[in-house]
């Protein structure tokens, strides 16, 4: 318990540091100390001391801060749902991206956008809902395809995930090619570019992410026991069918909320839980909160890199996570025979 509190504290401190750095990085660099001072002034509502502070304040408050918060929220949602899927499928390679949830969510979101674009107020309601449905459908399909009797072999899970993902991605591309020019922006979004830096998407995402994450935290102990397998979990008094459905819903909602507002960002849900499981064990009551903070740290840092590497050009953050994640995934796949999930 003590080590859990310490890890949580460390990760939170890391998140704070990354966030302060993140709001400073961009075409106009604002050093961390100055950024903090300006933010503090803006939050207190004090009048800006100088014209340069006025400019900094606009940059921070309307662009950088919402973007950083959006990345933190997205990272938390993806890493938490990754942990949950891994526990549920009893498989270290179950990541929202790999098992088709993210692509399904992307398809749902683009389908909703094709019908109604750009950002009308209803689209902020309809897009996450559509991505939730798309993600749910994909996860169920992958689960059905991969299951052999009572077991869920690793290779089947990955193959089914790849197949369903590709299919959903193809449909998404088809929709985008057929759509008008405005949807080109959707392509950038789909690659995980948080170019929609404003408060609107953040406000749209918060309720869905919070609901998904809170649901997962509430289900953490059920998820522990479900890891014993259906039969043993039931023999310990767990209502397996109901609890598993609840976990799938919560994890998929968290994934969909992230995808609907930040696009498809892969491997966050794979890397972060895996590292934390090694350091803090498999108990979901510890792993889920740590994954949320850890995922936020990871994605905020990836977003900093995305803005710095090719400056002044910005890379979609999904490229950064995939560049880190794909090699990591391959190493994991080689060792998965005796890996810790």
């Amino acid at each position: 318990m003590k080590t859990f509190a310490r890890s949580l504290l460390w990760l939170s401190a890391l998140l704070l540091a990354a966030a302060v750095l993140s709001v400073g990085v961009g075409s106009v660099f604002i050093p961390p100390g100055e950024a903090l001072k300006t933010l503090w002034g803006a939050l207190r509502g004090a009048p800006p001391a100088s014209e340069s502070e006025q400019i900094q304040r606009v940059i921070l408050m309307t662009l950088r801060l919402p973007r950083t918060l959006l990345m933190a929220l997205t990272g938390a949602a993806l890493a938490a749902s990754g942990s949950a899927y891994q526990g549920l499928f009893r498989n270290p390679l179950a990541d929202p991206y790999l098992i088709g949830a993210a692509s399904g969510a992307g398809l749902g979101a683009v389908a909703a956008l094709t019908i109604r674009y750009p950002s009308s107020p209803t689209s902020y309601l309809a897009v996450p809902l559509a991505s939730f449905l798309g993600a749910l459908l994909s996860v169920l399909l992958v689960y059905r395809l991969a299951r052999v009797g009572r077991t869920l072999p690793v290779t089947n899970l990955i193959l089914a995930g790849v197949a369903v993902s590709s299919f959903a991605t193809a449909l998404t591309s088809f929709l985008m090619i057929n759509a008008s020019g405005e949807l080109r922006r959707a392509l950038v979004w789909l690659l995980g570019g948080s170019t929609l830096s404003s408060w609107k998407p953040l406000v749209g995402q918060i309720p869905y992410t919070l609901l998904g994450c809170a649901g997962l935290l509430a289900l953490a102990y059920r998820l522990n026991v479900l890891q014993l397998g259906d039969e043993q979990a039931q023999q310990l008094g767990i209502h397996v069918a109901r609890d598993r459905t609840l976990v799938v819903m919560a994890a998929t909602l968290a994934t969909a909320s992230a995808v609907a507002f930040s696009g498809i960002i892969g491997f966050v849900g794979l890397i972060v839980p895996h590292i934390l499981r090694r350091t803090s064990g498999g108990d979901m009551r510890r792993l889920l909160p740590l994954s949320m903070v850890g995922g936020a740290v990871f994605l905020v840092c990836a977003d900093i890199l995305a803005r710095v590497l090719m400056a002044p050009q910005e890379l979609p953050v999904g490229i950064i996570t995939a560049l880190c994640g794909a090699p990591f995934f391959l190493i994991l796949l080689r060792r998965s025979k005796k890996g810790l999930w």
Partner: protein, 256 residues
């Protein structure tokens, strides 16, 4: 009367595995379930622990009908030591055993001092105390089997079902495992039902024997009555010799 089983039929949708299994087992007794592969031993344990989709008949522990009971209620009366020795690898041994307390804990699984005391005692009984900090993924099959036994004991139920509990154990732990079951039955009044392949272990540790064949009762009664050469030959279609070991006076069964 503690455990009363009266299964008219049990199995999967469209497939009957067990038919007409009836027995009653008083407090503190050990029943060995024997029979050839595929005779329905595991299915009987699955039927009794509520994980089989279709079960018709009656199943009483004390006066509680387990067929209509909900999962948590059933889990407070019957614990199972399954054949599989798989435990989620990233949990520590103590955490895995604490999961046995699940039917007694709240939704979030919060344990109190009493739960921890029970877990401490069961770890001692199953001789896994020195493994408590180890990760389950690092255990040998025999160690895992003892951890799973400790988990089932932590469930603190009047009835304990064991499915081939000694299959991964070496000679010493096979004997110790079943001696522990015997002690629990005698001292704590637990009723134990164990599916056992090894007839010599069944002869040594059980009070009564239920022999299954093709999902039906082939023999049922006191161990010394059921485990005779003629009955075993009939059930397994293999001629055997039964004799008494010279020094321990124990019954020994070998294929002749």
């Amino acid at each position: 009367m503690l455990l009363k089983v009266n299964l008219r039929s049990a199995g999967y949708d469209g497939e009957n595995i067990l038919e007409d299994i009836r027995f009653e087992l008083p407090l503190g007794r050990i029943l060995a379930v024997i029979g050839p592969n595929g005779s329905g031993k595991t299915t009987l344990i699955r039927a009794m622990s509520g994980v089989l989709p279709r079960v018709q008949g009656e199943l009483f522990v004390n006066s509680t009908d387990l067929i209509s009971a909900d999962d948590a209620q059933r889990a407070r009366l019957i614990a199972v030591v399954p054949q599989s020795t798989q435990i989620p690898p990233a949990f520590r041994v103590e955490e895995a055993i604490m999961m046995g307390r699940t039917p007694h804990l709240n939704w979030l699984g919060k344990s109190n001092g009493e739960d921890r005391e029970i877990v401490r005692r069961t770890m001692e009984m199953a001789d896994v105390t020195r493994l408590r900090e180890r990760l389950c993924g690092e255990l040998s099959a025999g160690e895992s089997q003892r951890v799973i036994l400790a988990r089932a004991l932590a469930q603190d139920t009047p009835v304990l079902l064991m499915d081939e509990p000694t299959s991964h154990l070496d000679l010493r732990y096979q004997v110790e495992f079943l001696e522990l079951a015997l002690r629990l039955a005698v001292e704590n009044g637990k009723t134990v039902l164990a599916a056992i392949h090894d007839l010599n272990l069944a002869a040594r540790f059980s009070d009564e024997v239920l022999a299954l064949k093709d999902g039906r009762t082939a023999a049922l009664g006191r161990t010394d009555e059921v485990l005779n050469a003629a009955a075993i030959e009939r059930i397994y279609r293999l001629p055997v010799e039964v004799f008494t070991a010279p020094s321990s006076r124990q019954r020994v069964i070998i294929p002749s």
